[in-house]
Symmetry: C2
Subunit: 360 residues, 2 copies
């Protein structure tokens, strides 16, 4: 805060009168931001990323800079956050950017693309590769500045009423899927639809859909899907990792002091680590409970993976032809991922494989 602003807000009389008072004088302006989440209160890890961010910012500024977190629908609908940011009616949001692939497929790079990078690789691309730089450019017309703020890790491949024997079982399947994976599943004959979390259970029970994907054990358990569709497949090839993101209206961000910008950036980084740690810490117990309650854990057959991989590359070739924003980011993303997968499987992969086979 500039001195004149300090004097204006505290009042010179206040400064003088307060000379013996223990109240803390803050150098920065009071800021109040509203954060619209695309997630409901019940999904504690997802909305938790925003809550951790808000807590961090408040603590680092002694409560001068506060962010109020609003669950999906409170301020704007779950899928209305990009419009609200673009218009400047909210200052920030917490979302899974691939929800907006209908506006532009390139939104998905900020979250997950089928057969894309795993969580560590994506984080490396974001922080040390060109990820954030390219996305900043892409988001400019939307008045959005984005920061990574959580990653679910590799997700589960969903709940199915019937066992999957081969890729033919997907032909004609009605499946709930959020995000970009539906575009690839369509090439396998899947009729995909996005249904809000709260309605998935009854849609499966009634047979309106045959299958659904959601996240992983911790979130899936809350929905009780194993009771109506017990076959639980892994992995979600459409979400080898899924980043959740902090969106900030560019004007709101640029209006901050350098100190506040730095505090916001690091508050988001901390939430990025903490949110992924929550998923990793909570998933094992949830998986155990799901299995004890009847979930049948299975790996997707290789022919399903192969057909989906091929279909994903067809989708990307089509997008490279018709979407220049996609093409530019995809070129960099692919190069980075290719290099990662020449290294990751060696030390990291062989170590994990060995450990997974031990009696610990």
């Amino acid at each position: 805060m500039e001195r004149r602003k300090f004097l204006r807000s505290a009042g010179l009389a206040g400064v003088l009168a307060g000379a013996s008072a223990p109240a803390i004088v803050h150098a920065q302006e009071n800021i109040r931001w509203r954060l619209a989440s695309s997630f409901p209160k019940s999904l504690d890890t997802l909305i938790g990323a925003a809550e951790t961010f808000a807590k961090n910012v408040a603590e680092s500024t002694g409560g001068k800079f506060t962010v109020t977190v609003h669950a999906a629908g409170e301020l704007v609908p779950a899928f209305g956050v990009v419009d609200a940011l673009q218009q400047g009616s909210i200052e920030c949001a917490n979302t899974a950017p691939y929800y907006f692939f209908g506006k532009d497929e390139a939104f998905a790079f900020d979250c997950a693309i089928p057969f894309g990078m795993n969580a560590r690789q994506l984080t490396a691309w974001m922080y040390e590769g060109n990820g954030q730089k390219l996305l900043r450019e892409f988001y400019a017309p939307y008045n959005i500045i984005s920061l990574p703020m959580g990653n679910t890790g590799a997700q589960m491949g969903g709940w199915y009423r019937k066992e999957i024997k081969s890729v033919a079982d997907f032909d004609g399947m009605k499946m709930r899927i959020g995000g970009f994976g539906g575009r690839v599943l369509a090439k396998l004959g899947v009729v995909s639809q996005n249904i809000p979390a709260g309605e998935i259970y009854s849609a499966l029970e009634k047979g309106t859909i045959d299958a659904t994907e959601f996240v992983g054990p911790h979130d899936d358990l809350k929905l009780g899907l194993h009771r109506v569709a017990p076959y639980y497949y892994y992995p979600a090839w459409w979400e080898g990792s899924a980043q959740t993101t902090l969106y900030i209206n560019a004007k709101a961000f640029n209006g901050l002091s350098n100190e506040y910008k730095s505090i916001v950036r690091q508050a988001a980084s901390d939430s990025h680590v903490v949110t992924q740690a929550r998923y990793d810490a909570r998933n094992p117990a949830a998986l155990k409970q799901l299995i004890s309650e009847g979930a049948k854990l299975k790996r997707l057959p290789k022919d399903v993976m192969d057909a989906a991989f091929k279909a994903s590359r067809e989708v990307y070739a089509e997008l490279n032809d018709k979407n220049p924003a996609w093409k530019k980011i995809y070129a960099d993303y692919s190069r980075f991922m290719q290099a990662q997968y020449q290294w990751t499987p060696l030390a990291e992969g062989s170590y994990d494989q060995y450990m997974a086979a031990q009696k610990l």
Copy 2:
């Protein structure tokens, strides 16, 4: 800062005179900390963690709180940082805690133990399990508060002058190894020694040692070890991940305002993400260069892994018997790791394996 302190430091005249000046008034006290790193300037990713932390703190406080980063030896020797913190002669340090397993083996939990958790699992234990809580208790007598600040990921299993055919090749081998792994290697007949980074090359060249481990491609390339010991094995079962840590003198930390404590914590979290991202982003190109310059990449034979795994469990059983601090933390660490490896291999492991086999 309390108002009276503000008045004392800025001076009432200054407040009045400054009413039209653009200078920023800061609410917090000026703080100067010295950070002693256990790493040399040449290891950019390792000392970089401290530099990123210092930059973050300075930016979030408008330069009021500065941390000066000193490379190993500048203030105290590389392995002298714990003593210096305990005595309060420095405010903070950046190190690999397993260097201090000679003081107490439990230091290693804050960094790496053989056949321990991978990077994501360890981070989950630290932030969402009992990791940081248990370590805070352990470190109390050392006047240390620790925060995770970087992880190298799974490391490479080192450089060998001769090919490894079986575990028998380790018997009598003279090997440079930092940290705790030497304790396990001793059970395989290895004569282990810790040699500073700068002297490893000549020790290998002269045949004083037969093999050395260091970190991974990015750091190893700088030492040029492939020129004298071309066999490059993976993985380092003694470092399935290795966390580097921020140590803070407890009195210095507890003397901070709540705002500064929060800023320090988040500055470290950001550096934790960024440092790991740097390793992940930089290792692939370094590996390629090492191979093009003659490094022979090989996986450690299974009988080596099995013998080392068995030896590690013997070492841990001995430590459980004689070191209560170890026993307490190991019980929690093992439980957490066991649960992790019941989940990690499914979605995450199967996804990575599939991707590693594709032509990307």
